[in-house]
């Protein structure tokens, strides 16, 4: 993969973090019933839903948004060819049709994908949505001034690598054909069985060419979804949405509230305080980006009425230790295995906020079916580490008196790669005779260092989330030898270049049967785990409060986040 796209992927990783942060407040149906103390739990139309967020909804242009499955707030305004299934749990990790009649019809080797639009689709001004508008929307996302989206389109579409967008290049993208107003055909340069997942991203939103105002389009994008943008202040700090009278209706978005008022720039503790108090307009409030922290969770779990208003979600994500096998002593697999045996996942999980906010991980793939999760634990450390086995391996590796190593981590306050997790590991490895020196770096410095093969440390904390719930975007960037980037942002930090792994990745990408693909991603995960290039630590869990009037909570495994398109406040 080219350097540019990998740099973009680095942004991707950051955005995934945001998407995660934009995440979760889930609860099962039984929670809905339990909390119906204020009256009946059937959702009704009407009212104003308030969204209290930390991060602003910036760059509200379908070309510029980097989303997983079309995003939460963006998905209220932008419909796409396909979208995520708006269901709880694993069902919600499936792709379903949105503007299109199905999730796409591939040719034999999955290099050509054809979609047909539903009948009677309209924009907020009543004009019809055509396949040419979808093509134009994708072309816009190639314009340098509208950058920000995922790199996949540029990588996958035939002859798109150097395309500069419709403003400079009037001929457009030859890889996309629109034989009639309802048909759109994509020609790819390699087999991609997961194209339907990509078609959920906002770049697949129709944009009417006559209404395109370039970089100003984000002020008032033309809606194809249930709501239209009435107000957008300070680049998404406050976004007010009202009903789109010409919305054609769709199978996925329930759109119960009449208005959605997104207010951002709030401190996370303020958001949680307001949702806990649930006074006035905050009764009908949710957050799409703020988790309960450990201390807040301790408080909430002691209060039954608050605990009933917490949604739980799982986003496909793994926090792990990464090794650079080019740095001694991590070139020795026995040393890497010894550390795998020595980690104390209980104390690491406590550092990450406890068992309610993190689940132990022994696989690199998230513990979800759609990723092809296949349980395995090749170097069993038990709950709190197997120091004896680790010592034995160190002895075999020629370190009978133990070892001193440096663990690199970020100094940022988020729990993912923070000093708290590093100190927990330091304490656990001490029992196995491994002295750990901590190297805490400023967050940007840390990211630059771990993603450049010239500066990559030997032993560091890392994390990874996928752009959609499948093994492909989870494993390929980290373990595909052809994705090692010599100059620029490299994500294959274990520098693994194994022919058998590379060919298996290619083979799975050809599959259009996603279940069959998932099983093979799971098997590949286990095969790679034998190399001990990473030590999976935990999968985070998202806990989010919502206001006392909020009903119909749906949290999918795709986003791990309460889906705004489903909630009702009446």
């Amino acid at each position: 993969m080219r350097q540019s796209s990998v740099i973009a992927r680095r942004v991707a990783a950051a955005s995934v973090g945001l998407v995660v942060a934009a995440g979760a407040a889930a609860c099962g149906p039984e929670d809905n019933d339990a909390k119906g103390a204020g009256g009946d739990s059937t959702p009704h139309k009407g009212g104003t839903l308030t969204v209290l967020n930390a991060e602003a909804q910036t760059d509200f242009d379908p070309a510029r948004l980097y989303t997983s499955g079309g995003g939460n707030v963006p998905s209220l305004v932008f419909r796409t060819l396909t979208t995520r299934n708006r269901e709880n749990g694993a069902e919600g990790a499936k792709v379903v049709p949105d503007l299109a009649t199905d999730t796409g019809r591939p040719n034999k080797d999955a290099t050509v994908w054809t979609y047909t639009l539903k009948k009677g689709l309209k924009y907020e001004d009543g004009t019809p949505i055509t396949s040419a508008d979808i093509k134009y929307g994708i072309e816009r996302s190639f314009a340098p001034e509208l950058s920000g989206g995922a790199p996949y389109l540029r990588d996958w579409l035939s002859g798109a690598a150097d395309y500069q967008g419709p403003y400079k290049d009037k001929k457009g993208l030859s890889a996309i054909a629109t034989p009639d107003a309802r048909t759109i055909v994509f020609h790819l340069n390699k087999p991609e069985g997961e194209f339907p997942f990509l078609a959920t991203q906002t770049q697949f939103t129709p944009v009417p060419k006559s209404k395109d105002t370039g970089t100003k389009y984000e002020q008032h994008p033309v809606s194809s979804g249930p709501y239209r943008v009435v107000k957008n202040q300070n680049d998404g700090e406050r976004v007010l949405l009202e009903r789109n009278p010409h919305w054609s209706g769709d199978d996925e978005r329930k759109a119960y509230p009449d208005k959605v008022d997104v207010r951002s720039g709030l401190d996370s503790s303020v958001i949680n305080q307001r949702l806990a108090a649930s006074q006035g307009a905050d009764k009908a409030a949710v957050t799409t980006d703020t988790n309960l922290g450990p201390a807040e969770l301790a408080r909430v779990s002691g209060d039954k009425s608050l605990a009933a208003r917490v949604g739980t979600g799982h986003f496909g994500y793994t926090n792990y230790i990464a090794f650079n096998p080019k740095v001694k002593p991590f070139d020795d697999p026995k040393v890497r295995q010894a550390i795998s045996y020595a980690v104390d996942r209980s104390s690491v999980i406590n550092a990450a906020g406890g068992s309610a906010l993190a689940e132990p991980a022994t696989t690199f793939l998230p513990d979800q079916k759609s990723f092809g999760y296949t349980p395995h634990d090749l170097f069993p450390a038990g709950k709190s580490g197997n120091a004896a086995k680790a010592k034995e391996l160190l002895k075999e590796a020629g370190h009978p008196n133990g070892l001193t190593v440096t663990l690199t981590h970020s100094n940022s306050k988020d729990f993912e790669t923070s000093p708290e997790i590093a100190t927990a590991l330091q304490d656990a490895l001490k029992k196995a005779g491994i002295t750990v020196r901590l190297q805490g770096l400023e967050d940007n410095d840390y990211r630059d260092k771990i993603h450049s093969i010239k500066t990559e440390p030997g032993f560091f904390l890392a994390h990874w989330g996928a752009d959609w719930p499948s093994g492909g975007p989870f494993l390929a960037p980290i373990f595909d030898g052809r994705q090692i980037v010599k100059d620029g942002a490299n994500f294959n930090t274990g520098l693994l270049d194994d022919k058998s792994v590379n060919t298996e990745i290619d083979a799975i990408n050809k599959l259009t049967d996603l279940n069959a693909a998932a099983a093979r991603w799971g098997a590949l995960d286990k095969k790679i785990a034998g190399q001990a290039l990473v030590v999976p630590l935990f999968h985070p869990v998202y806990k989010r409060l919502y206001g006392s009037d909020v009903k119909n909570i749906v949290i999918s495994d795709w986003t791990g986040v309460l889906d705004i398109s489903q909630v009702a406040v009446k």
């Binding site: 301790a298 779990s301 906020g353 406890g354 708290e420 330091q426 400023e442």
Partner: protein, 331 residues
């Protein structure tokens, strides 16, 4: 008493008889202030605790870095199990949320870092400030100009921003507490220099200094024999007030993540980690915050007492050490 004060006193140790009686007078005036005495006792106790930290933790049977995952409730965010944050015979002040590390051990070890850094930084500030201040006042007009402008620049530098920048560029291998002390000490000496320069200029005009200079003494000898005794009062006073400022600076730097590094405990770091827990586990915040508050308050009261004892006008109100006060009182 702080190292800084000792240092300044030592510098003026071989002063002549009248000065010695001045020292006696100082002690008498200090003793007359009950608040200052209590404050001095508290400071002495804190220093003792800091010095004896390893003994105290050994006595408790704990250490500041060992994790006790069994003592926290993982399902509830890692809140300590048991009442009052898990206070028990084994863990005198309970344990830290999420890690289960012993709070008493971390608090007393943290005292070493917080107090050590603050006293060392104060010593550096006083040494630099006195040297620059005296040199500016006693040197040529040209030297005075240069040193005074440098002092102005140092005073104008925002401590936190400079410290953040400096601490971010120094390699991680450099011992962190020493570095923090150096950075605070090297950035914040400006006010000491200004006070010393002003005081020296006043002293320079006095007869005994003029006489010493006319009799052909060198500048260093004049400074040592004639100026330092006169400078002791303002410098000691200011130093006593600098120590709490420096404790706060270290706490703030650790709070911002550039102070001492984990797992080394410091009060500032403990407060940082604890601030989100104030509702779920209040004692976690109360102990380090209470310790910091007590220390800063004690040092401030002590500093005020020292100032009062050294200032003849304030001392007169104490009715100690001057005959004049009583007469005025009677009148």
């Amino acid at each position: 008493m702080s190292e800084a004060l000792v240092a300044v006193e030592a510098a003026g140790a071989d002063i002549t008889a009248p000065a010695a009686s001045g020292a006696r007078q100082f002690w008498r005036r200090l003793r007359a202030q009950r608040a200052a005495l209590v404050a001095a006792a508290v400071v002495a106790l804190l220093v003792l605790v800091a010095l004896a930290a390893p003994l105290l933790t050994a006595l408790e049977g704990q250490d500041p870095t060992t994790y006790h995952p069994g003592l926290v409730d993982s399902a509830r965010g890692g809140v300590p199990i048991g009442s009052l944050g898990g206070i028990s015979a084994e863990h005198w002040l309970g344990v830290e949320p999420q890690t289960g590390r012993d709070l008493f051990a971390r608090l007393v070890e943290g005292a070493r870092v917080s107090l050590g850094v603050a006293f060392a930084a104060t010593l550096i500030q006083v040494l630099i400030g006195v040297t620059i201040g005296v040199a500016a006042a006693m040197g040529s007009r040209w030297l005075d100009q240069v040193l005074s402008r440098v002092t102005d620049i140092i005073v104008a530098l925002p401590l936190m921003i400079m410290a953040l920048a400096l601490l971010a560029v120094v390699p991680a291998s450099f011992p962190r507490p020493v570095l923090v002390a150096l950075v605070i000490g090297l950035i914040a000496w400006g006010n000491v220099a200004k006070i010393v320069r002003a005081q020296t200029l006043t002293l320079k005009g006095l007869d005994h200094v003029a006489a010493a200079r006319l009799s052909g003494w060198g500048a260093v000898r004049v400074a040592r024999r004639e100026l330092l005794p006169g400078l002791a009062a303002p410098v000691i006073t200011y130093a006593a007030l600098l120590v709490p400022t420096n404790i706060s600076a270290e706490a703030a730097l650790s709070f911002l993540g550039v102070g001492v590094k984990p797992p080394t405990p410091s009060w500032g770091q403990m407060i940082t980690a604890a601030d989100v827990w104030y509702q779920a586990a209040p004692q976690y915040l109360l102990f380090p915050a209470g310790a910091l508050f007590t220390t800063v308050l004690a040092l401030t009261v002590l500093g005020d007492g020292v100032r009062t004892a050294l200032d003849p006008r304030a001392a007169s109100r104490l009715r100690v050490g001057t005959g004049r006060a009583r007469k005025e009182d009677a009148a």
